[in-house]
Structure formats: structure tokens, C-alpha cells
Symmetry: C2
Subunit: 370 residues, 2 copies
């Protein structure tokens, strides 16, 4: 007797929205439940979403709404799943909702948490997916060029503030330039970072207020294509006017770490080895990572992460993940250094892993002083 | 002996991000774990996010990273929670990750799913919150006016297509106008609907391609303020040129249903009664809701939903929810009718519930033919 394939249950609200989009070829509404049984799938959505999803999903996916399977909207996902799946064994992701799991268990189902991702093929991108990320990344480069142009053409006031005519140039103004440029390319970015001086010392601080000369300005742009749902991710750090010697040294170190990590990338390389290549380069040049007065300083994040239908997805490139890179992975390489008294420097590109190395998905110059 | 208050565990990736933002007064990174013990809270974030969060959260919240509590990033949330909470009993939301729940149970903790929302006070907005939604809603009105102006000023070609000079006016062009107008008001909208003709018959179809005269165009704009994180939500339906008699009748019915639902709103009114007021008005005027050839038609969604730090939050206003409205609730009132052979009509406003009725958060005219 052939062993029955496990039935996978994916829930859009439980971190599976990107998996469902990938498997169905269409963006799932909230909430949506996908029941995968081998190559066939059943997508359960509300009455309101039914026609749209039926029109847009792949042929292998059957779309239903609760009434069609003898349930109702009010009865909720536990009842929909019970009505659709006759077998006892269900496989779910670790992020599956606890409350729903308990209800299914009480109804006699046996839930198993999948050790592997429910949709592992997402990690190796097809040619179409690489094209989609490339397009988003090119939009990021266009936005970066527009932002850098705006900063470079500003005047430096006696007070050190950057000005466009009489107006003080702010993070918000540069962010608006970035958003507009992305919009023209059918991309949306909601959390663009334009962080100057002390703000730049925090990797995820978005930045606000006046921009100043002689200080690092971290520009981190991660647009999502409205049409495809795929992301790009790009960071550059610039300084308007002459940079202090310490900042220049930091910049060159991050640039060297970026190059070292890139050189370490190829199919078969370990993710933690790629991270170590960047970290070693920084150590070698005297930049330590440690906590001082309770504040973590130095290279305080991983070297990169996968990019696709999610802005952060597998594979992660960090000291905490020991995993082999494979051809078709799309990852960022983004080492950075952060010190409260100087600020932060980060340089990031998005690349596809190839058999012998990597493919840069869109190229963008690296220059500190502008 | 006083009974110990339950310890609540909130996870940003498990649908609690808005709760954490509300309780901490700052946007949580991904992942973040908030441990609530009465009025005090401990927010666990990565080293990279530590300084930024420590600077931005409320005073009642202690920020830590895993190393500070004798754990590590690699060990993950189960270990962080074990290191922080000494008590056995934990309360979590129904969306808590199943995998994490199993780990905590194996470590001897007792998990209870909270019957009520972990952060019920979010449903009753403060004056500051009402101001924040008002601001986002005013941005939506500005974007609506710009979109309607663009459609109204188009020329109708002999082929029925709308044109701006020689260019055919498309959903994409109107969506770009909306996004630009919102951007100028520091708001972002990622899934704006500009759906014409057959597209409008699906409530959540975003719309694509040429716009046509004599057909319904549903404009659904839901911007989020970048500064505050609060949303607005606004829908109007327009028709360029004369509308067919059937469409006008449908429009007037939805408008009457919208008015009927608004009249039914006040503190103490039941959510399902508000929905029924809209549904009855449609029935009375001959508009039935039923499934024909497998396609649900008519008034196929609820009348509204709460709006705040999430675009869809409690309280829901539908036949499936029997709950009393309370002063300070912010909800949408958005009845709609959808028929594949005609298209869709939806009219939506966002309002605050008051003791005696409601407060319209931003006003926007209703006119079908433009």
C-alpha cells in the first residue's frame, strides 16, 4: 500500500501568505486557508473573494467558499478544514495558530509541525522570479540615484545643515523623492530608511529631520513590485562634503567586508562562512563587535537574508545559520558597522547565487563623499 | 492572598504587532516578544533593534535583547520566554504560534488561550487616536478628490474609452494619482482599488487597464500614516458620463443602505443590527443576495470593520458578529452591491461611534455621474 502524502494546511494570517501566493499564483486575501494534498490544493476564501480568486489562481487549485463545503463563514477555519479534509494527519508550519490547532486536535485530528519549510522550492528562484526581483532592484537603483542626486546637489550651510535653496533638506524630503521614483516604476516602499548622523547608528531607524554635512547618511531602499509581489533591497551610505577620517576608514572597512562576503558566495558555500568572511575582514581592520554600556556596537546584524515574495526569507546569511547556499538563491549581502559616537555605515546589494559565484541583480555605484 | 495577574505573551509575527505598538508606543521590529505582567512589560528584540526600541518605547516597558537575559538570538523565543517568566501560567492569543506553544508546554509551562482580546482597550479610541485616523482619512479624501477630478476631466472616445489627450486613461494612472496625493500627506497606500466595469463586481479586485464611460468605477482608498501608523478607509463609486438606469438604481440603493446603517449607529447599538439596517434597505428595494451559477451576488460582505492601527480590526459590523458598539469605536460603514453583468457599487465612510450617533471623520461628496 502506498503511503498517503501528508496534507498540509497553510493559513494566510500565520506567516503563510507568501507560500500561498507562490503555490496559487495569486495574492491570497485575508483570511485564506490552503489545503495541499500532493499536487492538488483547495483554497478556502470568503464569498466576497471567491470569484476573484477563482479567476486568478493556478488550475491545480480549487477555490471554494465556506458555504460550498457545507460550512459557513461564522463557523471559522477549524470547521472549514474539518469539512474539507477526511484524513486524520495534518502537517502545519510552526507558526500555525495555536487556538486553531487546539480545536483541530479536539476534533480528533493529529497535527504535526513540519521540520522543513512547507514550500521549500521558494528558496531556489526560477528565471521568471529572478527577473521579477531584478526589476524591483532596478527600481531601487533608480530611487537611490535620485536620492543621492538630491543630497549631492544640496548646499552646505554654515550651520552644517544641507539646504535646497532656502529649505533645509530633511530625511522626509529625500524619502519622498525615493517613494515617487519607485511609484513611477510600479513599486511601493513603506519603510525606506534615510538616517543621518546619530540616527544612522541604529540599523533600522528610519530617520527624521534635517540632514547634515560631514555625517553618514544611510539610504536603505526596499521596494515591492505591485504587479509581481517580489521585493528588491539596496543600501548605500553617503556623506555630503568631506567625511571625517574615522568615517572614511569605517566606510572602506564595510566596503572590503562586502567584497569579502561576495567573494565567498557560490553554490555549496555555507551561510555562516559567508558571514564570517565579512566579520573577519572587519576584525582584521580593527573593528570590534561588542556591547559597551549596554549598547551593542560594531557589526551587530547578520550579513544578509533571502529576498523574494518576502523581504526577509530563507536563506539567512548569519553566524546563527549553518546552511549550504544553492544556485538560484537570491540573497542580500549587507555588512554594516554601527558606533553611537560616529554613526553607521551599511552597504547592501541583492544577488543571485550561481554555481561559481553570484550574479549582481542591478548595479549601483559605491561612493561615500558626494 | 492576592491572585497573581496573568502573564500575557505577545508575538509580533503572530498578529500582535499592532497590540505591541499600542502597548509600547513604538513600532515593534520583526520578531519581537512582549511579556506583559500587569502594567509592566518586557520587550525582547534583537541586538540590532535594542537601542532604537529603548529610545522609543514607553517608560513602563523594559527593553532587552536575548544576551541581556542569559539567552542568545539562536536559542529563539521559547528560551527567551523561559528566561524572563518564572511563573508557570501564560496567557496567549489564539493566533500564538503552535510550534512555540508546544516548546513552552514541554518546558512545563501552562498556556491558556485568552477568550478576550489581549489588548481590548484598542477598540475604544482616545482623542489622540481619533485625530490620527481623522488625519489619514483627510488624506484619503484629498486623494479621492484628485482621482475623481482626473476621471471627470477625461474625454469620452467613440469607443467608450476614457482619454486624457491621446492617452487612454487606465486604473494604473488613477492609482498613481492617488498614491502621489497620499505621499504628499505622509501616507502610504499599497492596495488601492480603481476597478471599472466587470472588475468592480469583485469587491477586492484592484483593477487594471483602460477605464470606460457608462460603467461603475469603484475607488477604494485606505492609506496608513507613516508617522502614526493609523489608517483611514474611504470608498466612492463614480461613472464617467451618463449611467445606465439600472446602475443609477443600484447606486441610490447603496446610498440609502449607507444612510440606514449610519442612522442605526450609536453607543449601545448591536453590530448585527447595523448590518441588518443596510441589508433590509437593499432587500426592500428589490436587491437580493444569493449565489447564482456558483457566484455569490448582491450584498456579499459585511457592513464594516474597525479601523485603527490595523486596517481591519474589531469591532466587525456584520451578520456574523453580535456585539454592542461603544463610544470611541472607529468603524467603517461600507455597504455594496455586486452583480457580474452590471458591476459593483460601494460607498464607504469611516466614523467614530458617539453616545447618540456618530462623528464623520472626514466628509467627501457622493455623486455617481461625473
Amino acid at each position: 500500500m502506498k503511503k498517503a502524502a501528508p496534507v498540509h494546511i497553510l493559513i494566510s494570517s500565520a506567516g503563510n501568505a507568501a507560500d500561498i501566493r507562490y503555490l496559487c499564483g495569486a495574492e491570497p486575501p485575508e483570511p485564506a486557508v490552503l489545503i495541499l494534498n500532493g499536487a492538488r490544493g483547495t483554497l478556502i476564501v470568503s464569498e466576497m473573494e471567491y470569484s476573484r480568486m477563482r479567476r486568478t489562481v493556478k488550475r491545480s487549485i480549487a477555490v471554494v467558499h465556506p458555504e460550498l463545503i457545507g460550512s459557513s463563514w461564522k463557523k471559522g477555519p477549524a470547521d472549514w478544514i474539518k469539512k474539507t479534509v477526511t484524513g486524520k494527519k495534518l502537517t502545519v508550519a510552526s507558526g500555525f495558530p495555536f487556538g486553531l490547532a487546539e480545536k483541530l486536535k479536539r476534533a480528533g485530528r493529529k497535527l504535526e509541525i513540519s521540520e522543513t519549510p512547507l514550500c521549500p522550492q521558494r528558496e531556489r528562484k526560477t528565471a521568471d522570479e529572478i527577473s521579477a526581483v531584478k526589476k524591483a532592484q532596478r527600481a531601487a537603483v533608480a530611487a537611490m540615484n535620485a536620492a543621492i542626486q538630491q543630497i549631492a546637489s544640496s548646499q552646505i550651510g554654515k550651520d552644517g545643515l544641507l539646504r535646497c535653496g532656502r529649505t533645509v533638506l530633511t530625511s522626509e524630503m529625500v524619502r519622498a523623492t525615493i517613494c515617487r521614483t519607485l511609484l513611477d516604476r510600479d513599486c511601493v516602499a513603506t519603510e525606506t530608511i534615510v538616517a543621518c548622523g546619530p540616527h544612522s547608528a541604529d540599523p533600522h531607524e528610519r530617520g527624521a529631520g534635517p540632514l547634515r554635512a560631514g555625517q553618514p547618511i544611510v539610504l536603505d531602499i526596499f521596494p515591492r513590485s505591485t504587479a509581481t509581489g517580489y521585493w528588491g533591497d539596496l543600501t548605500r551610505t553617503v556623506c555630503r562634503g568631506p567625511a571625517p577620517a574615522e568615517l572614511k576608514k569605517m566606510y572602506n572597512t564595510v566596503k572590503a567586508a562586502h567584497a569579502a562576503a561576495l567573494s565567498a558566495v557560490k553554490a555549496g558555500a555555507w551561510t555562516d562562512a559567508v558571514h564570517k568572511a565579512a566579520a573577519d575582514e572587519m576584525e582584521k581592520r580593527g573593528y570590534k563587535t561588542k556591547t559597551i554600556d549596554g549598547v551593542p556596537q560594531g557589526f551587530i546584524h547578520g550579513t544578509g537574508h533571502g529576498v523574494g515574495l518576502e523581504i526577509h526569507e530563507a536563506p539567512r546569511v548569519s553566524s546563527a545559520v549553518h546552511k549550504k547556499l544553492r544556485a538560484g538563491n537570491i540573497i542580500t549581502i549587507e555588512p554594516g558597522l554601527y558606533y553611537p559616537h560616529i554613526g553607521g555605515i551599511r552597504i547592501e546589494d541583492t544577488i543571485a547565487v550561481t554555481k561559481d559565484g553570484h550574479q549582481m541583480l542591478a548595479s549601483c555605484p559605491k561612493k561615500l563623499e558626494i
